[in-house]
């Protein structure tokens, strides 16, 4: 029962994320990506981590989605103005390398961490304890993650708003 549920959540999360990368319509991609984030929230909920699930909904579905949508709308002129292939070879290589580095770090982190054994009386950590830990020993990592998110958003805007110098659309 729980395995089937877990597989279903995985299917929804990964499936929508994968489809988001393949679609030509950027808005559809973003909406599917949001679907994927909701899948992650449902996964947290199925693990009994209520607080994290609601925070995921509030932050990702409520706020980050809006940042992404605004970025897409403000930088693209038309629905068809999407390049699926990379602009240059060097850019493609740097994308692969950056993605590979992130994957490596995540895999290293996931495989090398020894998780405490699941307790029998349910994993529900009280919200108070979560908050104390987030503001206590994990405060620095929280700030770093926030910085990375901001930089990523700014970087995506910079990349997307690059304009061919020959075009003079705004000239009177």
């Amino acid at each position: 029962m729980t395995t089937a549920l877990l597989l279903l959540i995985c299917l929804v999360t990964l499936g929508s994320a994968a489809t988001a990368m393949l679609l030509r319509n950027l808005i559809h991609s973003v909406l599917l990506l949001i679907g994927s984030w909701i899948g992650v929230a449902i996964f947290y909920l199925s693990c009994g981590a209520e607080f994290v699930a609601f925070a995921q909904l509030l932050v990702y579905v409520g706020a980050v989605s809006m940042v992404v949508l605004f970025a897409v709308l403000l930088t693209r002129r038309s629905r068809t103005d999407v390049t699926v292939s990379a602009d240059t070879v060097s850019r493609a290589w740097s994308a692969v390398m950056a993605g590979g580095a992130v994957l490596a770090v995540l895999l290293y982190g996931a495989l090398m961490t020894t998780l405490p054994a699941a307790s029998a009386h349910g994993p529900a950590a009280p919200v108070k304890q979560l908050g104390a830990e987030l503001m206590g020993i994990h405060a620095a990592s929280l700030l770093v993650i926030g910085m990375i998110l901001t930089v990523a958003t700014l970087g995506s805007v910079v990349i997307a708003s690059e304009e061919p110098s020959g075009k003079k659309e705004d000239a009177p």
Partner: protein, 401 residues
């Protein structure tokens, strides 16, 4: 402290008894399922009927404020007007633009209505009437509310209409601007109550000072300021006048709803009223003592009646505000949010911290505590209000002579 009698009076337990009458003979897993189902049906029925009644009350009250009778032809005193409206709207043709993104165009009202209805799940309607008692209920409430922004965007974008899209962006700018003061305004309540659970927050407001003054959050300086910020932000979040720019009927051809008709339009309309009701219910829970009676001697009246009375008072207040205030401009709207409400809500966090730290003060220090807290609330309000309106008000008009 609480007398023991009102908790167990027949009226207080009537909803439970009625439910158990239906579900008590079912086996255990089915019983849980049937109880949940009944809770959902009751919530949908009660708030659906409240929505119908509210549309009538709104039109009647607006009519009286504007010195006209309001709807008075359908049934006695126009009482059947919501039914006529409902039949009309549901039987209307559902027009979808040819170039619209059909799936998203359909999904937008569904997501909006679903997320607003989900918000009703965690509000404690009475002493024994909490549909879902979550540990992080307040967070849940605002997390499902965050989905409305997505629905507004989907509605504006999928219509393939530049007016819809522009209006959706304006609506999003407003929703995002006011989301911040809305979220900041209830943080003080959580700070003082020490819990995110709605039942815990209501329980924290259950005591009586001197035996008769209720210790509701609104009767403290930080609570009053938080309540005011919350209600203003709630007005803006539910697109109610004077913040109804997203679908200003008279000038914007209904904004992101331009291409919606028939049942889908009703969904948006219902979602607006449901959102308004849910936010009012949350305001009652957070600041107005939830289902508690205002006086100890009035506790014989069941708790859900008190909740309903407070809820309806707030909703009629919403209508009154709509009848009184003119609509803001978009620049006034965003400036009001970022330069006034957000700083006020942030300062209120400091006031609450002071209130929390001075918890042990007694005797004359109590007076000092109240005075400092009131000054912390009032002075920023006056200073920022002056600065915000300097150069703008009072306006001078030059008339042709």
């Amino acid at each position: 402290m609480m007398p023991s009698t009102p908790q167990d009076s027949l009226l207080e337990r009537a909803p439970q008894l009625l439910r158990d009458l239906v579900t008590s003979h079912l086996p255990e897993p089915w019983r849980w399922f049937a109880n949940s189902l009944i809770a959902m049906i009751v919530i949908l029925a009660v708030f659906g009927l409240l929505f119908a009644a509210l549309t009538l009350v709104e039109r009647k009250v607006l009519g009286r404020v504007q010195n006209r009778p309001g709807p008075n032809r359908t049934g006695p005193f126009g009482l059947l007007q919501p039914i006529a409206d409902g039949i009309k709207m549901l039987s209307k043709e559902d027009i979808v633009p040819r170039d619209a993104d059909h799936i998203l165009h359909f999904l937008a009202p569904v997501i909006l209505l679903a997320s607003t209805v989900m918000a009703f799940a965690v509000i404690p309607y009475g002493r024994h009437l909490v549909p879902v008692d979550l540990d992080a209920a307040v967070l849940y409430f605002f997390a499902v509310g965050a989905t409305t922004e997505l629905a507004v965007f989907m509605a504006g974008w999928s219509s393939h209409n530049k007016y819809s899209l522009l209006a959706a962006m304006r609506a999003l700018a407003q929703l995002i601007s006011y989301e911040l003061p809305l979220l900041l305004s209830w943080v003080p309540v959580v700070m003082i109550s020490g819990t995110l659970s709605t039942t815990g927050i209501v329980a924290a407001q259950s005591a009586w000072k001197w035996g008769w003054v209720p210790t509701w959050n609104v009767f403290t300086p930080w609570g009053f300021a938080g309540f005011a910020v919350f209600m203003v932000a709630a007005l803006a979040e539910s697109n109610r006048s004077p913040f109804d720019l997203p679908e200003a009927e008279s000038e914007l051809i209904a904004g992101h709803l331009t291409e919606y008709s028939g049942c889908k339009y009703v969904f948006f309309f219902m979602a607006e009223y449901f959102g308004m009701t849910a936010l009012s219910g949350m305001a009652v829970t957070l600041f107005l003592g939830g289902w508690h009676a205002p006086l100890p001697s009035l506790e014989f009246i069941p708790s859900y009646a008190w909740f309903g009375a407070k809820l309806i008072t707030l909703l009629v207040g919403f209508i009154w505000i709509r009848a009184t205030f003119p609509r803001l401009r978009i620049d006034q709207l965003t400036r009001f949010a970022w330069k006034f409400l957000v700083p006020l809500a942030l300062i209120n966090l400091g006031t609450t911290a002071f209130w929390s730290l001075s918890f042990g003060w007694t005797g004359p220090l109590q007076l000092v505590r109240w005075a400092v807290a009131i000054v912390l609330v009032v002075v920023p309000f006056i200073v920022m209000g002056r600065r915000l309106s300097s150069g703008v008000a009072p306006r001078t008009y030059s008339y042709a002579t």
